[in-house]
């Protein structure tokens, strides 16, 4: 369960001064649900996810993740989550199996259990052929599967995934999407960011469209259609982006 209310992050920027990159956003992700944060580059998706993963401190507002408040008890939050950062963050000189071992231990898995669990995850994500090859020799798709394996290894109730399919070819993206759908079936609470509309439409139970740090609309596809009078997400999305007083003011 993720509950976000009035969450705000301001950065001090040399050129632009103090600036709200995430601006009073509120949403809720239930267990067994995939919630999509859809927005163009620079909308504030990564910053939001980083705050929920306790990497950044919110300037104001509250966020509960797995029953713990992110600022008040970050350590407890970190035990509840699997976080996939936009850059994958795999150690290049290590093999996927070695990376999994490191993060398994950090998540408190005991060695005997960890070994069987790694085998299991390697099977699930079809990583058998490259699990023992150093990361720097792997393709982007292989790396992304390894990164996802690391995110899921300790079976966390909450998954926070930052653009997990960006830059992947269609078959690999398919493997990953399949996997996320399977995680939903097992009851996980999944927050998913993307700038690809088709992906959001296909995967997500509910979608929040975010732009310039603000959430413009939240709901299921049918709710979004009803609210905007548009049939396709692409049209809804573009309408919402166009409809920006801030945008007109921007240089």
């Amino acid at each position: 369960m993720i509950q976000v209310s009035d969450l705000t992050k301001t950065f001090r920027d040399k050129s632009r001064g103090l600036r709200a990159v995430v601006d009073h956003i509120s949403f809720e992700v239930r267990d067994g649900e995939i919630f999509g944060l859809l927005g163009p580059n620079g909308a504030g998706k990564t910053t939001t996810l980083r705050m929920l993963a306790t990497l950044l401190k919110a300037t104001s507002g509250r966020a509960m993740v797995g029953g713990h408040e992110v600022t008040a008890d970050p350590a407890a939050v970190r035990r509840m989550i699997g976080f996939l950062s936009g850059d994958m963050g795999l150690y290049h000189r290590l093999t996927p199996r070695e990376v999994l071992k490191v993060f398994g231990r950090l998540n408190g898995l005991r060695d005997e259990f960890l070994r069987t669990r790694i085998d299991e995850v390697v099977e699930m994500l079809q990583m058998r052929d490259f699990a023992d090859t150093k990361v720097d020799q792997l393709s982007t798709g292989m790396r992304q599967r390894a990164a996802l394996a690391r995110t899921l290894l300790h079976d966390p109730p909450v998954l926070i995934l930052d653009e997990p399919t960006s830059g992947l070819d269609v078959p690999t993206a398919r493997v990953i999407e399949e996997f996320i759908l399977q995680a939903r079936r097992s009851g996980k609470c999944i927050l998913y960011s993307t700038h690809v509309m088709e992906e959001a439409e296909f995967l997500c139970d509910r979608i929040a469209v975010i732009n310039q740090g603000r959430i413009r609309i939240t709901g299921t596809m049918s709710e979004l259609k009803a609210a905007t009078g548009r049939e396709r997400l692409r049209e809804i999305f573009l309408d919402l982006l166009d409809d920006q007083p801030e945008k007109a003011a921007a240089p």
């Binding site: 993963a53 350590a75 989550i81 795999l90 000189r93 490191v102 231990r105 950090l106």
Partner: protein
């Protein structure tokens, strides 16, 4: 603080470190190969220069006027090559011989042998000294013969004897030299050996964006920093141990060479015993911790590998200064000086090898290094909690 977490981070860093070619070069290749290599080259040059000077100095000029009996024979027997030179002074000036002899008649009618040397040339100086010594012996032999002819004992020439003794044992002198070199080399290489691993696990992780999953894991900032500091400390210690081992081996070989000088023999035998080596390693333990913590804190501040390198270069320079000051003679480690990082250790290593260290200074140096390491650890944790440093772009 959960030690299992620290151990997991440490294990990861060690694995990563031993696959990093740059780190392996500075940790292993430099101390094992470069150090003895430098020694060998220096030794080769000094030895060859010495041989060359010896050869050159045996070629001397002699003018036809030298007629003092026995002089020519004595020079030849001693191994000088005599080259006839009518103008002895000019022959030395134009460097065709190392030194040259001439003879004139003194005021009292006796012969006076003149030795021409050029004191700006090493070979000439050596030749001059050898010739003077030889002529003195020749003179003495002639006096003794005369005395015997007159029935007087040779003892009148030597009414009493003089002997001077250096109370500083040779071993101590040699230990001083060895200790100075060792302390300097070990400290310098310890920092350079730990530098790449320290950068790689901080600024390097930032640059490659691997820090985020680590920070989102249940490991606390303190546990992460500690695991990294311990790994980098291991790198420093490993480099230091390899440096000591390879330096001692190189010096020992030096002393066994056929042309080794007396001092080299002594230095090679001044090598520390097992107890001294153990004490040195004990001294290096908190030093390595200090070096690692400082470098981790500095490198953590950098955005990327390059920036970390340029931030750490002055740190290494700063290490060289106290290490060099520690090599100077005449300084003794007292409690106040034992508080100065790096300097205290270079001094302590020297004193341990000589066999004269003060226990108070040892404890002070040990404790102060641990203290500095704790300060650096605390600073690193603070930096790790500062998101503007961690996520600045």
């Amino acid at each position: 603080m959960n030690l299992r977490m620290v151990a997991a981070i440490y294990a990861k860093e060690m694995l990563d470190m031993f696959r990093d070619r740059r780190a392996l070069i500075s940790m292993i290749v430099v101390p094992v190969i470069a150090m003895p290599g430098i020694f060998a080259v220096v030794h080769y040059f000094t030895e060859n220069l010495g041989k060359k000077a010896a050869l050159e100095s045996s070629r001397i000029g002699i003018s036809g006027r030298v007629s003092e009996p026995g002089v020519r024979d004595a020079l030849k027997i001693t191994g000088f090559e005599l080259v006839p030179k009518p103008d002895a002074r000019a022959a030395v000036e134009n460097k065709s011989v190392a030194a040259a002899l001439d003879e004139e008649t003194a005021g009292d009618g006796s012969g006076r042998i003149i030795i021409f040397v050029d004191k700006t040339r090493e070979a000439s100086t050596i030749a001059g000294e050898r010739i003077s010594a030889l002529l003195e012996r020749l003179k003495l032999a002639r006096v003794k013969t005369s005395l015997r002819g007159m029935g007087v004992s040779e003892r009148v020439l030597d009414p009493f004897q003089v002997k001077s003794t250096n109370v500083a044992a040779d071993k101590k002198m040699a230990g001083f030299i060895l200790g100075s070199v060792l302390g300097y080399a070990v400290l310098l290489l310890m920092f350079t050996g730990g530098m790449y691993p320290a950068i790689d696990m901080t600024a390097g992780e930032k640059e490659r964006h691997t820090l985020e999953p680590l920070l989102a894991s249940p490991a606390s900032r303190e546990e992460i920093v500690l695991g990294k500091i311990f790994a980098s400390t291991t790198a420093c210690l490993l480099t230091a141990m390899l440096t000591i081992a390879s330096l001692l081996a190189a010096i020992q070989r030096l002393g066994m060479g056929p042309n080794s000088e007396e001092l080299e023999h002594l230095v090679s035998r001044a090598g520390p015993d097992a107890a001294a080596v153990a004490l040195i390693l004990l001294t290096l333990l908190p030093t390595a911790l200090f070096a690692a913590s400082v470098m981790i804190a500095v490198a953590l501040f950098a955005r990327g590998f390059k920036e970390a390198q340029s931030l750490l270069t002055p740190v290494i320079m700063a290490v060289v200064v106290p290490a060099v000051v520690g090599m100077l003679p005449g300084l003794e480690l007292n409690v106040g000086l034992a508080l100065i990082p790096v300097f205290n250790v270079s001094q302590l290593i020297k004193e341990i090898i000589i066999g004269e260290y003060s226990r108070i200074a040892f404890i002070t140096a040990f404790a102060s290094n641990v203290f500095y390491a704790l300060v650096a650890f605390w600073i690193s944790v603070r930096i790790f909690k500062t998101e503007s440093v961690l996520f600045r772009s």
